[in-house]
């Protein structure tokens, strides 16, 4: 009981609220992406053992890479469910990550541009990715897994808000 309370308070949750989550379809997109990366990385790391026959120990490398990839793939649904965003009066909050949690608050007046990008897989399931750019490169807020209509609506909303709150750099 106390242990639970301790872990609950240890987790970073600076702004409790109704986070808007991304579409569950994005799990599929992310899964396929992770699968492809995992296979390429595993095959790539097995090349030394395969081509040069340096010894049995070199097979440990692809095994390790494969295991890490599998863990990443297994965690994909949870990771996607952890992505969320929240529109407040003056800023947009973004969160992602379970192991490595990240919260970002971007004031509307600081948005320099809003990008919508769509990869081939995302397009196939009707999803889009929204990217917010500020004058700081470190902001790095990308909201994946929005339906195209949602993404466009959000973009127009954000651009309109940014226009009313416009300030210098």
């Amino acid at each position: 009981m106390t242990d639970d309370a301790a872990t609950a308070s240890a987790r970073l949750d600076p702004v409790p609220g109704e986070w808007r989550r991304v579409s569950p379809k994005y799990i599929v997109v992310d899964l396929v992406g992770n699968l492809v990366t995992g296979v390429i990385a595993t095959v790539g790391s097995s090349l030394p053992a395969w081509l040069f026959q340096w010894g049995v120990w070199w097979w440990l490398l692809p095994i390790a890479v494969g295991v890490v990839s599998l863990v990443l793939i297994a965690l994909t649904p949870r990771r996607v469910r952890s992505i969320g965003y929240l529109l407040r009066d003056d800023d947009l909050l973004f969160r992602r990550g379970i192991m490595f949690q990240r919260f970002v608050a971007v004031p509307f007046g600081r948005m320099q541009l809003v990008d919508i990008t769509r990869g081939p897989l995302a397009r196939a399931v009707g999803l889009a990715e929204l990217k917010l750019v500020t004058a700081a490169a470190a902001t790095g807020v990308v909201i994946p897994g929005l339906s195209l209509a949602d993404a466009e609506e959000l973009r127009d909303h954000l651009v309109a808000l940014a226009e009313t709150r416009r300030a210098g750099l």
Binding site: L12, T139, V141, G168, L169
Partner: protein, 521 residues
């Protein structure tokens, strides 16, 4: 009001091609002289004979003997073409300053037209390289955010450059009422300086007058005493600069390497030749030291009506004016060996990138290469006037000292020592009305100040190790620069509170921030 800012198109200083190509011209002359040394000696001292195998087989001799006319003709044509091209390029290079924008048109074959909004100005730099200074010319660079977004006016006459900058800044500040007063002041200044405005008039009037004006310009103090009240000026003594350079980590590394080589020679018998490896390094270090000191002689940083002015230089001078609200983050830090002397250096993040280097051969973002504690606090007061007030001065000063229980900083908990071995007591933050103050480091102490009105976004991070220790990290995102405002190993609750408060303060600051038109408030 200077005539250059009347909204009509103007040309640059007529000597611009010469000044821009000055170095190239000298280099070409040098190459010619080096190659024709023998022949020049023969021309000027006919008694000295040219070695026979040089003069007979030399292509120059053949040209001189057989194709003299063609050669002369060719040289004349080349010179004429070059002059015509330079003249054309000078003629096609025009600029104008209106109430809203500054525009530059340049290029002969490939025309370019750059327009920069005055309220987006991040700073104005006036550089006077030695060669240009002799001719009474100056380079004016108007910086805007982003890379390669600056507008450069090279060259203008020296006095015009100062006048134009004052005028541009006055317009950018949105101050209409002050313009009339400025015009009167500028006219008075021009009258006082005699032949300063309009060099061509002076040339016609009197050459001696020009020489006198030039000499006055050359010997004038780097910082015009009328520009800033003396109590707001911070200068840097050469002695401290030398001391700080000698005690910097680079020098210490050098001494360690030399000591290592000496030990290797005496103990391991590495051989005498090892010394020769050191000699170039010694020369390199020597020239670095001399350069560093020479470049930052006459350094001063002062508060003017239109922002902070940083100026320096003995022979080639540079000064930059950064309007209020253009500084995105400030960091006061210290080299390890500077601590007994209480020396600090001040770096800032700016949205623009200046093409000229800063004082002491540093980046132009190092606005104070070295200063005492009082000077550093004064500089902080200049760049963030709202932060350092009488009430907060003690608190800010506490940020440079070891931690005390009641110094206003929220520091890491005891368990933060797992991640910040030595500095967990000092590692902390303070939320001020206008800025977030981060205090970090025990061995390498630093104090970072981020004005909330300039923060781009705020982030909070937590990794698995941090979660086990109930810690978290907060980072304030600013434009790119030498200062990274992030603070780790905070208690998760404190980090959440800082994240919330910094985000809220940022939203409030954006609403009330008027610094892009700083004069209109």
């Amino acid at each position: 009001m200077t005539e250059l800012a009347d909204g009509a198109w103007h040309r640059l200083h007529p000597a611009t091609p010469l000044l821009k190509g000055g170095i190239a011209l000298i280099a070409i002359l040098g190459v010619i002289v080096a190659n024709l040394r023998e022949r020049l000696v023969e021309w000027f001292f006919p008694g000295v004979n040219c070695p026979p195998d040089v003069c007979e087989e030399d292509p120059i001799s053949i040209i001189l003997e057989r194709y003299l006319l063609f050669a002369l003709l060719g040289i004349v044509v080349v010179i004429l073409v070059v002059i015509a091209l330079f003249w054309l390029s000078w003629r096609m290079h025009t600029f104008r300053v209106t109430g809203e924008v500054v525009e530059v048109r340049s290029g002969v074959l490939f025309r370019s037209h750059r327009k920069s909004r005055l309220d987006r100005i991040q700073g104005i730099n006036i550089a006077r390289p030695l060669f240009a200074r002799i001719f009474g010319a100056a380079k004016l660079e108007i910086s805007a955010a982003g890379s390669d977004a600056n507008v450069q006016l090279a060259y203008l006459s020296s006095a015009n450059a100062d006048g134009l900058r004052a005028e541009i800044l006055a317009r950018a500040s949105g101050l209409r009422a002050r313009e009339a007063a400025d015009a009167v002041a500028a006219a008075e200044a021009a009258a006082a300086e005699g032949a300063a405005v309009g060099v061509s008039d002076a040339v016609r009037a009197n050459l001696a007058e020009v020489a006198r004006a030039r000499l006055a310009e050359f010997t004038a103090p780097e910082l015009d005493p009328n520009l800033a009240p003396p109590q707001s000026v911070v200068t840097m003594s050469p002695g401290r600069l030398i001391g700080s350079t000698v005690l910097s980590s680079g020098t210490i590394m050098f001494v360690v390497i030399v000591a290592g080589v000496l030990v290797a020679v005496s103990v391991g018998g590495a051989g005498f030749w090892a010394f020769f490896g050191i000699i170039p390094t010694v020369f390199g270090l020597g020239s670095y030291l001399v350069n560093r000191v020479l470049k930052s002689l006459r350094y001063s940083i002062a508060a003017t009506a239109d922002g902070v002015r940083v100026g320096f230089g003995l022979l080639s001078t540079t000064n930059e004016t950064i309007p209020p609200g253009r500084i995105h983050a400030v960091e006061i830090s210290q080299e390890l060996l500077w601590r007994p002397f209480d020396w600090w250096t001040v770096k800032v993040n700016l949205a623009s990138q200046s093409s000229t280097a800063g004082a002491a051969g540093q980046q132009s973002t190092t606005i104070l290469p070295v200063g005492s504690r009082t000077e550093v606090l004064k500089v902080l007061e200049l760049v963030l006037p709202s932060l350092v007030t009488d009430e907060t001065r003690l608190q800010i000063e506490g940020g440079l000292a070891p931690a005390r229980p009641d110094d206003g900083f929220t520091t890491s908990p005891r368990r933060g020592a797992a991640l910040r071995w030595f500095s967990w007591r000092r590692n902390g933050f303070m939320l001020h009305a206008d800025a977030v103050v981060l205090r970090r480091g025990a061995v390498w102490r630093s104090l970072t100040v981020v004005p909330t009105a300039r923060t781009q976004s705020v982030a909070a991070h937590q990794g698995p190790l941090e979660r086990m220790l109930r810690l978290a990290k907060v980072r304030l995102h600013t434009v790119a620069g030498p200062v990274t405002a992030s603070i780790g190993a905070l208690d998760a609750h404190d980090a959440s509170a800082l994240f919330r408060d910094a985000a809220a303060a940022g939203a409030v600051a954006i609403r009330s921030d008027r610094s892009h038109r700083w004069g209109s408030a």
